[in-house]
């Protein structure tokens, strides 16, 4: 094995303003390279992406490999993974990091397979061990377990990184980076996936799966009329409303709002759970919530034991109380 040390980051710019994951990974790569040596490099495929190349340099990339060709205009998983593999084989980086966007999670496993190396999914931290190896730290079981994973023998060491994990470096317009432009190989495979349409619709309403605040209600809210209070609270907090299965079955809210095994998984910064007992089919989908406030008359409900703050009180009264408190205190 050559003593490769460079750290590569795949430039994922398609959704640039919504997702700055590439910049976040570059920041961490800079930190890692301080102990492993080697250069921090970005790799970008597409057509007309000079503005992103500049951004990557301003955010820590010392080198940017660019393949710019009209044929690469739209993201295409087979084409992009072929190119990535080709570049890695040519330049032999020690590490290849990819943002865990859906695009990244689709392309990285293909590249890892082609390169016959390992891949750790959706890392929430990266470290270097005393032997200089990349320690890839990834959650599993809905955040209930954290695994530390290494790739002892194969190179590059590959990982996808959860967006929002690292803080991007401050934009440095004076930073200098080397830009290496490469021509499209002549033996490109034909893309087998035909894109009929691709429409960019950045979601304003985040949807329950992406919302930072989710307010869930269960049977303990009492009735459809009382359940409506949760919508008022959600609107005030910029949040979304979710529900348990009995509530959805009773038609207090649509099926889209179902949280759980038969519905959606959520990962808000705060979850307010009103009148929910905490059955496993429900709680399996809320394990990634950062902070849980549960409101229940029964202090022994599972939901209450899982919560950061367990409020033993009537769900409707507490909901009204929070609405009042926010209305009185909000600053616009």
């Amino acid at each position: 094995m050559t003593t490769a040390t460079d750290i590569w980051v795949l430039g994922d710019y398609r959704n640039y303003f919504q997702s700055r994951v590439t910049l976040q990974i570059l920041a961490r790569a800079t930190h890692l390279a301080a102990s492993t040596g080697g250069k921090v490099c970005a790799v970008v495929f597409g057509h007309g992406m000079d503005e992103y190349v500049g951004e990557y340099i301003a955010h820590g990339a010392e080198k940017v490999y660019v393949v710019d060709d009209p044929a690469l205009k739209t993201y295409a998983v087979e084409t992009y993974s072929f190119l990535m593999t080709r570049l890695v084989e040519k330049f032999k980086p020690a590490t290849l990091l990819v943002g865990a966007t859906r695009f990244g999670q689709e392309i990285a496993p293909r590249v890892a397979k082609q390169l016959k190396t390992g891949l750790t999914a959706d890392c929430i931290d990266l470290e270097i061990d005393p032997k200089g190896r990349l320690v890839q730290i990834a959650p599993s079981f809905g955040g209930n377990l954290i695994a530390r994973i290494i790739t002892p023998h194969k190179r590059p060491q590959m990982a996808t990184i959860r967006p929002g994990t690292f803080q991007e470096l401050v934009h440095d317009g004076t930073a200098k980076g080397q830009i290496i432009r490469l021509a499209l190989p002549t033996d490109m495979p034909t893309e087998k996936i035909r894109c009929i349409s691709s429409e960019y619709k950045p979601s304003k309403a985040k949807g329950i799966e992406k919302a930072d605040i989710v307010i869930t209600g269960g049977r303990g809210m009492g009735s459809k009329g009382k359940f409506k209070k949760l919508f008022e609270l959600a609107a005030l907090m910029n949040g979304e409303v979710g529900a348990t299965r009995p509530v959805v079955y009773a038609n207090w809210i649509g099926h889209d709002a179902l949280v759980g095994q038969a519905g959606k998984a959520i990962k808000p910064k705060i979850l307010f759970a009103f009148g929910i007992s905490g059955a496993i089919q429900h709680t399996a989908a809320i394990a990634d919530a950062d902070f849980i406030v549960a409101i229940n008359k029964n202090p022994n409900a599972t939901m209450m034991r899982m919560a950061d703050v367990a409020i033993v009180a009537d769900a409707n009264q507490v909901c009204s109380g929070i609405i009042r408190a926010i209305k009185e205190n909000i600053r616009d």
Binding site: R14, Q18, E78, T101, Q105, A108, P109, R110, A112, K113, G118, L119, T120, A121, V135, P139, F141, G142, G143, N144, L145, I146, A147, R148, I149, I150, T151, K192, I193, C195, I196, S197, Y200, K201, P202, E209, D212, I213, M237, N238, G263, K264, K269, I270, F291, V293, M304, A307, D308, V309, A310, I311, A313, Q317, V318, G321, A325, N329, I330, R331
Partner: protein, 283 residues
């Protein structure tokens, strides 16, 4: 008319969130946890069943084969799949396969498919399991089989030997097509699974259509060892150290709400992206 073959990959996962794991090897003591069919695999199976039903209405035949790699107890999910409408089930099970990472899991699954179902038309996978949740097996399996793949399908329309897929990824709404054979992974919110009648599960036990295959029958090298041969290695597994404080608040609604904002107002306002007056003070 030619039988249309759908192969659905399904995995058994532990039912509980509190898991027994071996801190030395970093692998799960799966035999200690009760198993269930991974929810994302169930969605893949549901997609297969719906395609079969649609085709049946047109008088066209479809065979659904479910394939799983796992310990012997994973047979249960094959019976369950059979009771839901799958035609055939195969469990790849061998001590030598235990501890495979996604690189080797996809290798082993592909090995069986290439050997026993080389004429498969459509391979379906979940997009992410509920236990190790990597989402890597589908794409890597497609790579092993040298077939195209589309991830995160919200809807699949079969049109002859081609599929058209609608999906919503990273704020893009896309319509994609590929010729078959191909692989599709099903989005976490699509194809809400049906439930099996209990009687169905019982009947399924009577069948000979579910078989177990070991490493030797798969033609794996006798030195094959999934733990050793996996390119990734789990160093250790631990529970997140930031244990919840589980603070209990009691009293009148007004008192508990005041207390909530006094102690947690900062967390609430930062998640809201709005300032609240008197943060950290009584409001």
């Amino acid at each position: 008319m030619k039988m249309f073959k759908i192969l659905v990959c399904i995995k058994q996962v532990p039912m509980v969130s509190e898991l027994p794991w071996d801190s030395k090897t970093g692998t799960l003591k799966r035999e200690l946890a009760q198993g269930m069919m991974d929810p994302s695999s169930r969605r893949a199976l549901e997609a297969g069943l719906q395609i079969k039903e649609t085709r049946a209405e047109l008088g066209e035949k479809t065979q659904i084969i479910v394939l799983s790699m796992g310990p012997p107890m994973a047979m249960e999910i094959l019976y369950q799949a059979k009771s839901l409408g799958a035609d055939k089930g195969i469990l790849l099970s061998d001590r030598a396969m235990a501890g495979a990472d996604t690189f080797l899991t996809s290798f082993i699954l592909a090995r069986f498919i290439k050997k026993e179902v080389p004429d498969v038309d459509l391979v379906l996978c979940g997009s992410q399991t509920s236990d190790s949740e990597t989402g890597q097996v589908g794409p890597q399996l497609a790579e092993e089989l040298s077939i195209p793949a589309i991830g995160y399908a919200a809807d699949i329309q079969l049109q002859g030997q081609m599929v058209r897929v609608h999906r919503h990824v990273d704020d893009f709404f896309e319509v994609l097509e590929m010729d078959l054979p191909g692989l599709v992974t099903i989005d976490q919110a699509a194809y809400t699974p049906r439930y099996a009648a209990f009687g169905g599960v019982q009947d399924a036990f009577e069948t000979a259509d579910i078989i177990q295959v070991d490493a030797r029958r798969l033609g794996l090298d006798e030195n094959f060892n999934a733990v050793k041969d996996s390119p990734t290695r789990i160093v250790d597994v631990y529970s997140p150290t930031t244990r919840k404080e589980n603070r209990v608040l009691k009293g009148t609604a007004k008192a508990v709400v005041d207390q909530l904002f006094e102690d947690y107002g900062k967390i609430i306002s930062s998640a809201m992206g709005k300032d609240l007056k008197g943060q950290g003070e009584k409001i």
